[in-house]
Assembly symmetry: C2
Homo-oligomer: 80 residues x 2
Amino acid sequence: MAKVVVHVMPKAELLDPQGAAVISALGRLGFSGATDVRVGKRFELTFDREPDEVEIRKIASTLLTNEVIEDYDFQVEVTA
Amino acid sequence: MAKVVVHVMPKAELLDPQGAAVISALGRLGFSGATDVRVGKRFELTFDREPDEVEIRKIASTLLTNEVIEDYDFQVEVTA
């Protein structure tokens, strides 16, 4: 068994409206000091075998990421 | 400066409709072997100081997580 964790985040150069919303909410709730917030997605995929890197990149880029506005990275954890 | 990464995932015992959608899409695209997929959120918060654990837990539980259906974990990376 293998667990693949894929993180998909908005490209750094793009405005992140969700992040901006969190920053203003932090201010309203009295939390100070936040200078930047970025909001993305975390996928935890469990496989009954260990997928190779090419396959993981294909899954991440074709299915999980909008490569125009997002970047991804991944880690593989082999569990059993 | 400190970067706090908060991961918010659906509670393990709950059905994850987004995850189910990804699994069926994987099958349609010819990727075999996926037994479970869970989809959650990743927040990257940058602070101009190092927030303490109590503050981070308060931010995560009140603002970033719906504690009825989600769990969270976090890591602090001190950068400068």
